[in-house]
Amino acid sequence: MNEERYVDELKELIVDVARRCRNCNYCYTVCPLFESSRGFQVQGPSGILQAIRYAIRWGELEGKEKEVLREILYACTTCYSCVLKCKASGPGVPLLDGIEGGRRLLIELMIGPMPEQIKVLESLEQEGNPYDELASRRLDWLKELERERRLSYKLLPAEGVEVLLYVGCTPSYNEGVQRVACSVVRLLEEIGASYGILSEEKCCGSPAKRMGEEGLFEDLCNENLESFKECGIQTIITISPHCYNTFVNEYPKAINEFKIQHYTELFAELIERGALVPKSRIEKVVTYHDPCYLGKRNGVYDAPRKILGSIAGVGFVEMRRNRDNSLCCGGGGGRMWIETEEINRLSETRVREALDVGAQIVAVACPWCYIQLKDAVKTTGNEGKIEVRDVAELLAETI
């Protein structure tokens, strides 16, 4: 498709989505951006959607308004709450199709992404990760773990391996989140899984997709699909809900030949079948923070709770906002790489909500939630009062 036609089609898509919005503004009641900002109307779903609509309709994609528009569009956390709200109470507008379509349009017109995100995209293109880290160091964490214990994984492609542990960029490179990857590996070893890890894993493409860099996303997508096929695997286990969502909902149909599972789904299944039994106790009050890309986008609410519920000693409590009403940590939608003004930081609000129900541990199942909430525990001065742990870490601790 030529570029001009692509741009025209994008504009049509956005205007069509926005025309369906009736400005009832119910979406504002669930929007984390609106909650954490000063509360201007463009800091909420319908306002963002109408901004890109009128920019197109009134020819405001050039000139002084374009940078204002960019800031508006890239502030969204893409948490999906607005889409669910509109489906439940409104005309069912797929608001994020319009907002993310807007980001794609800005990229095409060289207005997007945000300046801080440019190097993220470059890193994705050159090194296959968004963190400006060398591709060659992607498996360093695994080698480190291997120094501690013998591991049975195979480096893929290799013969006879059915399960691929798709580690993802953040668990591979972030020092804190590497602990989560290690925990998942320990659990796979515990159940005696025949599993493999890609020798040259690349990003699933989610950050590129969220920033509107569709071409780069498609390239990563095709490279990953080819590599999955080459490995002869049947199942892909992800650590990050963002990779999970990208594979399940955004990859071409060819991905359907593989079974995609978030690690919480796999371990909950095994626990239910009695194939994985938590042994030691954790005598703590634990709450669970639903990651948007696992919960709201994919309806996986029960699996992590089943895992936590299977650990003896855990006193499980729900926060006031949970499941499809859960509050976003603020890290999604490409916001991990930009400075957004937050009057009330979402992750700090979330930590306070966990403390309000008496939790000593807030369990998460997403690398970005992990980073965001851990940071918020520090910035709110609650170190020693509450811990942020990944579900995998807690489960591995009991084995």
Partner: protein, 475 residues
């Protein structure tokens, strides 16, 4: 009025920034557009867009904005959540939009027997807070999750509540704090539980359509949370349903807090959405209240006795709360799901009947779109707050229609609504009186009646600074 020059605009923004602090003034084009939009499905025009949006944090700041706006003769529009269904919100000329979002303080004074809130408080938040303390907020708009207290009080609307049961919110308002169009601040009413006899300034602003002042604080009496009992009646046809409601009043039954109805198609659709069997006809759903469960139940039983009659297929109490939630929520999700399944935008009229003519009014509503050039092409559903004798003929406007055609459909809807409310000697009880209803107001109450409101407006707001267009019906 003439457009402001760039220098004048810059100065205005500086002054506004000085009043509310710069970070709460926006001249961002897209913020200004969104603050000009309302629920009507046609686009805004450039010439309507406001100059700036401000979010004041206090009564004093609003007062200063009003004084400044008067000094430069620039209109001021007050915006809560912009959900007004009578078209009162959408400005028609540029001005300053005051968004009440930051004015969201709520304080409950149990020892005084009232609560006070600012206009930007969201209705659901207030209702939930009061419920936690064992009190009941006497208002229930369909948009409760986003509607603001300021918007509710300025319209004096109880939303879906049956007026003969507990009245309007205004019956519970003890007093207000108001910024007048010239910036003066006044307090009305009382801090006692007994409202003023004789002249009560509160009444000029309560349900005043935003013409005479900016409400900045609302004081309302605390109402103990009532006990409730629930009932359903199913009818073979809508006329029998209307007769059932007439009997309820004629037989001197205690009016229920809520009494909703759904026509056959809407009921089947709604019940289906909640996994319930189709009720097999048009339905009434009602909630009776009392100070005890027994009193509520007695009232519900008495209502059921009257609802039963010719054409009644079934009439029963609902005891299982899970079942009741499914039934009640089926009403709540109909509009959204119809829009989603039919690919339409729903737009309702508000027809009120007098008691005696309810059956005839229902007949007219069944034929609401007949013979009208645009509306007759559209699908029609009937539902509404039948206990309050309000019927909402809901038309389904195809999303793909152009703005002009949508506008014509909505004009026809208001025209037909006007004819029926005039025919039955009634008026809208839910959405306010001006905006798109100005013509109705003049027909209903005469030029003299309209002149009284106009005179008041001119006296209080000689420069026509506050919310111009509502009274003129420009929107």
């Amino acid at each position: 009025m003439e457009d402001l020059s760039n220098a004048e605009l810059t100065k205005m923004v500086d002054v506004l920034g000085g009043i509310v602090s710069k970070e709460y003034v926006s001249t961002n084009l897209f913020e200004r557009i969104k603050n000009t939009l309302d629920v009507y499905p046609y686009e805004v025009q450039r010439e309507q867009i406001c100059y700036a949006v401000v979010m004041p944090g206090s009564t004093q700041e609003i007062s200063e904005i009003m004084k400044y706006a008067n000094s430069i003769k620039v209109p001021v529009f007050i915006r809560g959540s912009g959900t007004h269904l009578g078209g009162n919100y959408r400005p028609h000329v540029p001005g300053i939009v005051i968004n009440t979002h930051r004015l969201d303080k709520l304080e409950v004074f149990e020892d005084y027997g009232y609560f006070e809130c600012e206009p930007g408080c969201i209705v659901a938040r207030v209702a939930d807070r009061l419920a936690e303390l064992g009190y009941f907020l006497p208002m229930a708009p369909g948009s409760r999750q986003i509607a603001t207290m300021g918007g509710m009080i300025v319209n004096n609307t109880s939303g879906h509540i049956v007026d003969p049961s507990i009245g309007k919110p205004g019956d519970y308002v003890l007093g207000l704090e108001v910024v007048l169009p010239n910036g003066d601040i006044i307090e009305t009413g009382t801090k006692g539980l007994r409202r003023p006899a004789g002249t009560d300034l509160t009444k000029f602003f309560l349900g005043g359509d935003g013409l005479l002042g900016v409400i900045t604080k609302i004081r309302m009496r605390l109402v103990p949370q009532p006990e409730r009992a629930y009932g359903v009646a199913v009818y073979g046809d809508l006329l029998s349903l209307a007769r059932g409601v007439q009997r309820m009043y004629m037989e001197r039954r205690p009016a229920p807090l809520f009494m909703e109805f759904l026509d056959d198609r809407a009921a089947s659709f709604g019940f289906g959405l909640r996994g319930l069997e189709p009720p097999g006809g048009s339905v009434i759903l009602f909630v009776s209240i009392g100070s005890s469960g027994r009193e509520a139940a007695d009232k519900a039983d008495k209502i059921l006795e009257s609802l039963k009659g010719e054409g009644t297929i079934d009439a029963y109490r609902v005891y299982d709360m899970d079942v009741w939630h499914k039934i009640w929520s089926s009403r709540e999700v109909i509009s959204s799901n119809l829009m989603q399944q039919l690919g339409t935008q729903l737009s309702s009229a508000e027809v009120s009947s007098n008691l005696k003519d309810l059956v005839n009014c229902m007949k007219d509503c069944v034929n609401f779109n007949k013979g009208l050039p645009i509306l007759s092409q559209l699908d029609l559903y009937l539902f509404g707050h039948i206990g309050a004798l309000t019927i909402h003929p809901a038309i389904m406007i195809p999303r793909e229609w152009d703005d002009e055609r949508k506008r014509q459909a909505i004009d026809e809807k208001f025209q037909r609504e006007k004819e029926l409310n005039l025919k039955y000697g009634t008026c809208g009880g839910e959405w306010g009186q001006f905006g798109k209803r100005k013509e109705f107001f003049i027909k209903r109450y005469g030029e003299r009646g309209y002149g009284i409101v106009k005179g008041l407006k001119e006296m209080m707001d000689p420069n026509n600074i506050l919310n111009p267009g509502i009274l003129e019906g420009y929107r």
